[in-house]
Amino acid sequence: MTHAAGLLDIALSIALVTLALGQIMSMVRLMIGPTTGDRILALDTMVINALGLVVVLGIQQGVKVYFEVTLLIAMLGFVSTVALARFILRGDIIE
């Protein structure tokens, strides 16, 4: 095993733990609120963190198809957030 690969492993592990921590913290924010806006933002942050998690998992496991999963999440993940935001702003999300 080369040093570079070893370094990458360490970096990936750190990244994973950091992202997981980030998820948990967003989760806490989501639980305590206090407003619905905070909670929606927390959910959005969790989607972004999930993106990161999948990318890092993909690098770690060497599977290319994970990047396509991230593509989908990145492309469509905001739709739920937008829908929720529209809901609290207008009540009706399609008008």
Binding site: L43, V54, E95
Partner: protein
């Protein structure tokens, strides 16, 4: 004429009367008559063959795997019944033309009548018993329509329902009996079954089959204890009563007993059940008939009695009995149809059928009097009329029949039955036609036109002809008897004669007629006695049973299926838990074969978040929006878990489904309160929590158990992995399973999905048509709302990303066969792309820019998938056989073309259509009166020539 055509003619012709309705009543009746005549003549063309003793058969294999073939056969017995059905049918049609009034829809009536006629002819010409069952059920259904033809009469509807219930249940029993019979004989073709008498009677399943088949026959032919429906079916118009309830349908049960006579009869069980039922029916029917005041009821019970007589004759199991039965079927059909038609004439002319209000009609209606009297005397068994001959034969047969070890039981009962039979015939004549002319008829009667009396007159001519010259009918009766008996018996060489000498039957006959006359003399006190005796009322009992069944069904159904989702969830969870527990304690539990793996930090974090989100839902579920957000987290974490366990397909599907679900639920939440009120008691919540925790622990235990052990049997996944590329041409096993290995399932699923979407659409449309519409339009928001409906930033963003989304969808679709993706995911991606436009620029703006309605997209999807599947038929392969090939078009690389991709296109279209149609339907509900539709994509549109009227600054007024 081909037998197919004879059976098909009435069915095809049934389309015509309805079409001819506007052309007038005579045209409608005429076309019906012509169709029946054509079938009748077609039947007669087969007469020479039948007379030669040949069996005419026509057949094609329909579903040979099931033993269900369209095979028809025509022998003497079938010919006899078909002749009755079509011949009397002709007379009935002519009679009904006169009978029905201008208010009745004649086209409808004749359509039902032809449907019934076709079904009846089908029964008597079927060679395959499964086909026979199909026609059997058709007669029940079409007779339901005919009995209930006068929909405005409650008696008609109730009678129709009762007839359908009783005969339908009998039909159900008969399906069972016929299937057993077919299993024993190894074939469902009558021609094979009839050859296997010994095999069938030796089988241990003979008795169950016999009882089930007899249940069908007895219900259809109104045998005790199922006789009660027939009198109630008399609420039908008289032509229906004359046709169905004297000549044809009630003879279907008799026909089947006769048809299966060679294989079923002769055993002690047969003799005991059939003879006893027939005997009781005969006596009971005759006794009740005597005391009925309604002419049609009297005739109805007399029909019950005569059907009992025929059943009893078939039950004796002797060749002579069978011949007497055949002869009596013929005679009964002639005089009873004539009697019903006469009763109809009396009703039509005097406007009442109550025998107590009639009398003295012989002076007013001499022709009707002559017809009805001859027919009734024949029924009473007076010499020189045909009823006498067959009644003599019956008494002769009864004289020799031993039942329950008694020599006198059957003869005495038969004589009693005949006595009452003679009595009600005399009453029919005496109380309707004889006596002084009254001046209080509801309507002054007189003879009707020839159109009405000619049909019964033709029948009565036959009555007299056969009665005077029985040798005319004898060869035919013997021919029919021969085909009834088949190889099971010899046709008796006794001749049908008027004078047999001083035999016991003659004495019994004399006793019956004399007793009948005597009874007429003392009728008034007898009737009073009858009225004062309590009797069970069949209709009340029937209604009570039906109501009881409905109540029982309701109790069972409402306790399980009360419309509450939580109830279903609880039932499902408890059932699965119980089944799992049962399997656990009774099955063999192997030792763990796999090592536990060490959990990583990411796995623990994911798990912790799932647990936290779930707990959050439990505690915050009354805040609906928060619960939805937490559900989003669960979905997200499940998607990540799929990635973590190397299932990118599932992750993509899960993620896109999550997005669509959230949008759908938000659309629904718009109409719901923000908080769920507390409605359940603490005890109930405790119970629910217990079930939920037990269910959760149970599934966790199951997952734990399976993760530590190898599968007990080789999983099918090995096969899929091995054959995915070889057989399906794709390396993405998930997709190949969906579109190829289990393609038929997928096809069914997209149809279900499409139906669900269309239902959502239909439901919302119904809501919008109803009173709800106004309330929906005038809703006021329950919280302050933002002023921007269509923010520019969102509009621009969604427009920019739209082509990207479409391209990704296209890409995911195309490569789905070999790598994660496919029509389903692509469909969801594209739907989300379109929904974004709806959210950004509003419903009306987006809807105006869509060329194709979503219904069309759904339909196209199902059709594309279906046609792809059907394509393989042209290569003589089964439905949905897939194929693939590789082509190379320079300068591209070699690529694969698979039919599965076309099927996947169908899936894609169906998914897009279904998702969009449901979302669109929901959002359609949210239109509000104070929110006019905007033609512009966004509130502040820089490309707009004029500013929005709302934002226009007021111009300074000119002085």
């Amino acid at each position: 004429m081909s037998l197919f055509l004879i059976v098909a003619l009435p069915f095809l012709g049934a389309l015509l009367p309805g079409v001819m309705n506007p052309a007038g009543r005579s045209a409608t009746a005429g076309v019906t008559f012509t169709i029946t005549l054509a079938a009748f003549v077609g039947l007669l063309t087969n007469l020479p063959a039948v007379l030669n003793g040949e069996v005419v058969t026509n057949g094609i294999n329909w579903m040979p795997v099931l033993g269900l073939n369209v095979t028809l056969m025509l022998d003497g017995l079938g010919f006899f019944f078909a002749l009755l059905i079509l011949g009397i049918g002709l007379l009935i049609i002519a009679y009904a033309r006169q009978y029905l009034s201008r208010d009745d829809n004649m086209g409808e009536f004749f359509t039902y009548l032809l449907l019934f006629q076709g079904a009846m002819v089908g029964i008597v010409l079927s060679d395959n018993i499964l086909l026979l069952l199909v026609f059997w059920e058709l007669t029940s259904l079409s007779s339901f329509l005919l009995i209930g033809y006068w929909k405005h009469l409650p008696e008609g509807r109730q009678g129709a329902r009762m007839a359908l219930t009783v005969t339908g249940m009998g039909g159900l029993a008969m399906i069972g009996g016929m299937l057993i019979l077919g299993q024993i004989a190894g074939s469902y073709d009558l021609s094979d079954i009839l050859q296997n008498r010994d095999l069938i009677q030796a089988s241990p399943l003979y008795v169950p089959a016999l009882i089930l088949i007899l249940l069908g026959c007895f219900t259809k032919s109104a045998q005790f204890p199922f006789h009660f429906w027939l009198p109630h079916a008399m609420a039908a118009p008289t032509p229906v009563s004359a046709y169905l309830h004297s000549a044809t349908m009630v003879k279907a049960g008799i026909f089947l007993m006769a048809r299966l006579w060679p294989v079923l009869s002769g055993t002690p069980e047969w003799v005991m059940i059939v003879t006893t039922a027939g005997l009781i029916t005969m006596v009971l029917g005759a006794v009740i008939a005597l005391f009925k005041h309604d002419l049609k009821s009297l005739l109805a019970f007399s029909t019950v009695s005569h059907l009992g007589l025929i059943t009893m004759l078939l039950g004796t199991g002797t060749s002579f009995g069978a011949m007497a039965a055949v002869f009596h079927i013929l005679n009964h059909a002639t005089f009873k149809a004539a009697l019903f038609m006469s009763a109809g004439i009396v009703d039509h002319e005097a406007h009442t059928r109550d025998i107590r209000r009639l009398g003295g009609l012989r002076h007013l209606m001499p022709i009707t009097f002559a017809i009805a009297s001859l027919a009734a005397l024949s029924m009473a068994g007076i010499p020189l009329l045909n009823g006498f001959l067959s009644k003599e034969m019956m008494l002769e047969e009864a004289h020799h029949t031993v039942l329950f070890g008694s020599h006198w039981l059957v003869p005495v009962m038969a004589t009693v039955g005949s006595l009452f039979s003679a009595a009600y015939c005399f009453r029919f004549i005496g109380h309707t036609f004889l006596g002084p002319v009254r001046d209080d008829y509801p309507h002054t009667p007189h003879d009707p036109g020839a159109g009405m009396w000619l049909p019964p007159a033709i029948l009565v001519t036959l009555v007299v002809l056969i009665g005077v010259a029985p040798f005319v009918a004898e060869p035919f009766v013997k021919l029919v008897t021969a085909s009834l008996l088949g190889s099971a018996g010899e046709v008796p060489d006794a001749h049908i004669k008027i004078w047999h000498g001083l035999v016991p039957a003659l004495y019994m006959s004399i006793v019956a007629v004399a007793g009948g006359l005597l009874m007429m003399l003392v009728f008034a006190p007898l009737s009073r006695l009858w009225e004062s005796t309590p009797r069970p009322e069949a209709k009340v009992i029937f209604e009570a049973i039906i109501n009881g069944a409905v109540r029982a069904a309701r109790v069972v159904m409402h306790s399980l299926h009360n419309g509450s989702f939580t109830r279903y969830a609880m039932i499902a969870v408890v059932t699965v838990l119980a089944a799992g527990y049962h399997a656990w304690i009774t099955g063999a539990v192997g030792v763990p074969t796999r090592e536990m793996q060490a959990p990583g930090a990411v796995a623990i974090a994911g798990w912790a978040m799932l647990v936290a989100a779930t707990l959050g839902i439990v505690f915050f579920h009354r805040n609906r929006l928060l619960a939805l957000i937490l559900m989003g987290i669960v979905g997200l974490m499940v998607s990540i878990a799929f990635v973590f366990f190397s299932a990118p397909d599932l992750a993509m599907t899960q993620f896109t489904v999550e997005a669509v679900t959230i949008i759908l639920l938000l659309l629904a939440l718009n109409f719901l309160p923000n908080r769920t009120p507390v409605e359940s008691t603490t005890l109930r919540r405790f119970r629910d929590a217990t079930v939920a925790i037990a269910g959760g622990l149970g599934s966790a235990a199951l997952a734990w158990h399976y993760l530590l052990r190898d599968a007990v049997a080789t999983p099918i996944s090995e096969f899929h992995l091995a054959n995915s590329y070889k057989g399906g041409g794709g390396t993405n096993v998930v997709n190949v399973i969906l579109v190829d290995f289990r393609g038929f399932d997928t096809f069914g699923e997209i149809i279900v999905l499409s139906i669900a979407a269309l239902l959502i659409y239909a439901l919302t449309e119904t809501l919008l048509d109803g009173p709800v519409r106004r309330r929906l339009l005038n809703r006021t928001p329950d919280q302050p709302q933002s002023g921007t409906r269509h923010p520019m930033m969102m509009v621009v963003l969604t427009r920019v990303i739209m082509p990207v989304v479409m391209m990704v969808g296209f890409y995911i679709f195309l490569r789905g066969h070999n790598e994660p993706g496919g029509g389903f995911i692509a469909g969801l991606i594209v739907s989300i792309g379109v929904v974004m436009q709806y959210m950004a620029s509003g419903f009306s703006w987006t809807a105006a820019r869509l060329k194709y309605p979503y219904h069309g997209v759904i339909g196209a999807g199902v059709l594309v998938a279906g046609f792809t599947g059907m394509g393989s038929w042209f290569l003589e392969k089964p439905f949905l056989t897939s194929d693939f090939t590789y082509v190379r078009i320079p300068p591209f690389e070699k690529f694969e073309l698979a039919t599965a991709a076309l099927f996947d296109l169908g899936v894609f279209l169906a998914v897009v259509g279904a998702v969009m149609l449901s979302l669109e339907s929901f959002s359609r509900l949210a239109r509000r009166a104070d929110m006019p539709d905007s033609d512009h994509p966004m509130d502040i549109d820089p490309s707009r020539e004029k500013p929005s009227p709302d934002l226009r600054t007021p111009e300074p007024e000119a002085h």
